[in-house]
């Protein structure tokens, strides 16, 4: 354990949010069991009141998730001098086996919390709360994941032992850790690039079709998701290289640093933004056939599609710009 302010902040924040989520999950369970909108009984009234608490908790949890995602990476980056062999966040995350799982869970939980809020927003617009069971089912699914994140994050922090001078010889002879930076796979570039632009083109096409005709929402979600995965791989395997202007540096975290004009923040935000709104489109497909959401759901979906495509486009523009105006010229 390193008593670093950010580590304390992240741990305390996660633990508090988790406690609130446990309460929410409990209330969610009650709602799943006893919800009956027709009734004006006191039980039902108190359940309805609990939905407000859960929404608020989830909104806070989501904001926390977004901020803590960046704070976490930044902390890892910041602590790298404490570990021999760690050059940046990539190395620090590799110090023990919990680093990367925490990072991944943070990303997944961001998607879940965002998705939940989208569904909640939609549901709250319909007078009969048609998605209520689904919504709280999802909550019961997401809460354990966030709890898992808290636990894994805590074990990660607890397992951080800085390499310090020791009695006999200094930290020198702790075995050199293999930097993950070099081991991140550099995938073949050409097929990846083709896939990326193909996927992006398809997403935009499908998005436009969906916007006008209201058809193919699932297809859009799927294509968008696949494109983003390709984009993530592309980011690691070649886009980064242009940003760093180094032919071998694949680290996806260093782009968040000031040396690279914080270019990583818009990249990550557009990436996550496109992902969460893209999934949101698919998740709301079911709602289109519900009487009370017939008009509302498509309107929200349209907004989501626009937002998702906007994010995707910005992502492509930023990475394209970086590649076009980089001093690094690569022949492939």
């Amino acid at each position: 354990m390193i008593l670093h302010p950010a580590i304390l902040a992240l741990s305390i924040g996660s633990i508090l949010i988790s406690l609130m989520l446990i309460l929410s999950a409990y209330f969610g369970l009650l709602i799943l069991k006893k919800w009956d909108l027709k009734s004006g009984s006191e039980v039902q009234l108190s359940l309805e009141r609990k939905t407000y608490l859960i929404s608020t908790v989830m909104a806070y949890a989501f904001s926390f998730q977004v901020l803590s995602f960046f704070l976490f990476i930044y902390t890892a980056d910041h602590l790298s001098p404490l570990f021999s062999g760690a050059m940046c966040a990539a190395g620090t995350l590799n110090v023990n086996r919990w680093g990367y799982p925490t990072f991944l869970l943070k990303m997944i939980n961001f998607l879940f919390a965002g998705l939940w809020l989208i569904i909640n927003y939609t549901d709250n617009r319909a007078y009969d709360y048609p998605l209520i069971k689904w919504k709280y089912g999802l909550l019961l699914f997401a809460v354990p994941l966030i709890l898992a994140e808290t636990i894994i994050q805590t074990s990660y922090f607890l397992g951080l032992h800085p390499d310090i001078i020791t009695s006999c010889c200094g930290a020198l002879f702790t075995p050199e850790k293999q930097g993950i930076t070099s081991s991140l796979i550099a995938l073949p570039r050409l097929p990846l690039e083709v896939l990326l632009y193909l996927g992006a083109g398809l997403s935009i096409g499908e998005g436009v079709v969906f916007y006008w005709k209201g058809k193919g929402g699932w297809l859009f979600t799927f294509t968008n998701g696949a494109t983003l995965i390709v984009a993530a791989l592309a980011l690691i395997s070649f886009i980064c290289l242009y940003i760093y202007e180094l032919p071998t540096h694949h680290c996806p975290f260093c782009i968040l640093q000031s040396e690279y004009r914080y270019i990583g923040y818009p990249i990550y935000m557009t990436f996550l933004g496109s992902g969460v709104s893209g999934i949101g489109v698919g998740a709301l497909m079911k709602a289109r056939s519900i009487e009370s959401l017939k008009e509302i759901a498509p309107r929200i979906q349209k907004r989501l599609v626009i937002f998702s495509l906007l994010c995707l486009t910005i992502f492509l523009i930023i990475s394209g710009y970086q590649m076009a105006f980089s001093n690094l010229k690569m022949v492939f």
């Binding site: 027709k38 709250n124 009969d128």
Partner: protein
């Protein structure tokens, strides 16, 4: 316009202190009328008004407002209905202390996200209508009973309600002010507002302006 079907309201259901406030009321209220509910305290007038005013939901039965069922609406939508349809005048006035008269009048419209400028203008016009324009920026704690009453009415009207609900409006007013209150209600009624009043003040149910008096006792209607 407002229809109640077999409305029941039970407090603390299933507990030792269970209390039946409204016990199966069927009622239909037509628009553009002044309707008065009379009866001793504890007869369920106030509870009935809060049910009609969609402040609370009945334990059983159904309420239709402009032919739309509002009984099973969740609170989120009920509030919207309440804000758009009803204006409330309470027994204790219930102005927010420490705010000026005009701020009090504006408060109900804050959540609708109206521009401050146009909202203030409307509030000022309403206060002017009741001769309160010069007191607009006076804190309500320093207003007299009659002035407070008029601010309360102005507040009830800020969201253009079609129905005004008044609960014992004259309980804290003297005779002169009570007459003045009924005059204002009469005027509003002529402008097309539906008015519901709960009161045991004879001044009100004997007023010639009133179209209909409903007498209640123990959560039931005894005379219509």
């Amino acid at each position: 316009m407002i229809q109640l079907q077999n409305i029941k309201k039970v407090f603390h259901m299933g507990k030792p202190n269970e209390f039946v406030a409204i016990d199966g009321i069927d009622l239909s209220i037509s628009s553009h009328q002044i309707t008065v509910f009379k009866g001793p305290s504890g007869s369920g007038k106030t509870t009935l008004l809060s049910l009609i005013g969609s402040m609370a939901r009945p334990t059983a039965g159904r309420i239709f407002l402009f032919d739309r069922e509002i009984t099973s609406l969740p609170e989120r939508f009920l509030t919207e209905v309440r804000r758009k349809t009803f204006g409330f005048i309470f027994q204790q006035f219930n102005l927010i202390k420490g705010l000026t008269a005009i701020e009090n009048v504006m408060t109900p419209a804050y959540p609708s996200g109206e521009k401050r400028g146009s909202l203030a203008k409307r509030a000022y016009e309403l206060l002017n209508l009741f001769g309160m324009a010069q007191k607009a920026s006076v804190r309500v704690d320093w207003l007299s009973g009659g002035e407070t009453q008029r601010v309360t009415i102005a507040r009830a009207l800020i969201n253009h309600p079609s129905i005004i609900i008044a609960d014992e409006p004259t309980a804290h007013l003297d005779t002169k002010l009570s007459i003045e209150f009924m005059d204002i209600m009469g005027k509003l009624n002529q402008e097309g507002k539906t008015i519901l009043i709960a009161s045991h003040d004879p001044m009100i149910h004997e007023s010639p302006l009133v179209h209909r008096v409903i007498e209640m006792r123990d959560g039931k209607i005894i005379r219509n």
